[in-house]
């Protein structure tokens, strides 16, 4: 049986992209802007990272293409993506890993306050 945990950890870029799509489906540029806002400006994805990650995530089936409603008017070359079921599982597993890591650090760092 293949569990989501086997794919962890995912990179920060991948995590933030998945997290952005967890809220709603978006196209690449919107993900870029959302990740920047989401991280309070700390993370600015370069286009190399973004589109490379999107293509990888599609291959892995963690995200899926969504056909834009209203394709007639205002049809730019935008491509919309959404999180797949599998992607949501991975995101949840990675979130737990992050929580666990943060909790471990809190404990160990508290031990040594002397």
């Amino acid at each position: 049986m293949e569990t989501s945990q086997e794919h962890l950890p995912v990179s920060e870029a991948t995590f933030l992209i998945l997290l952005s799509l967890a809220q709603e489906s978006r196209h690449g540029y919107a993900i870029m802007k959302d990740v920047e806002a989401l991280s309070q400006g700390r993370v600015s994805l370069s286009t190399g990272t973004l589109y490379g990650a999107l293509s990888r995530l599609l291959d892995q089936r963690w995200i899926e293409r969504v056909e834009d409603e209203l394709p007639e008017q205002s049809s730019r070359t935008r491509k919309r993506y959404r999180l797949s079921e599998q992607g949501r599982h991975v995101l949840q597993a990675e979130s737990q890993r992050l929580e666990q890591l943060a909790a471990m650090a809190r404990l160990r760092l508290a031990e040594n306050l002397s």
Copy 2:
């Protein structure tokens, strides 16, 4: 001014090695075992990862060599390492990054429980 945040994120392997050394100075093999225990068996560092990381961490001055007390008796080829001041700063910064990421995920994932 160079702040610890500029080096983030650090890899999971690096983070766990630093966290292990935050408790007390250790030699490589002991770090390996501690990381395994610390992560409840989830992370088993390969020696390639471990010794590669240690050598890099020394270069970056995030860790330092410690001369073993009692070098006469029981002197194996063990090399002991400790966390440097800079290393502790990086570890603290990375812990905060992890907390922030985990908190972000908690919020977004809670939004979409419907």
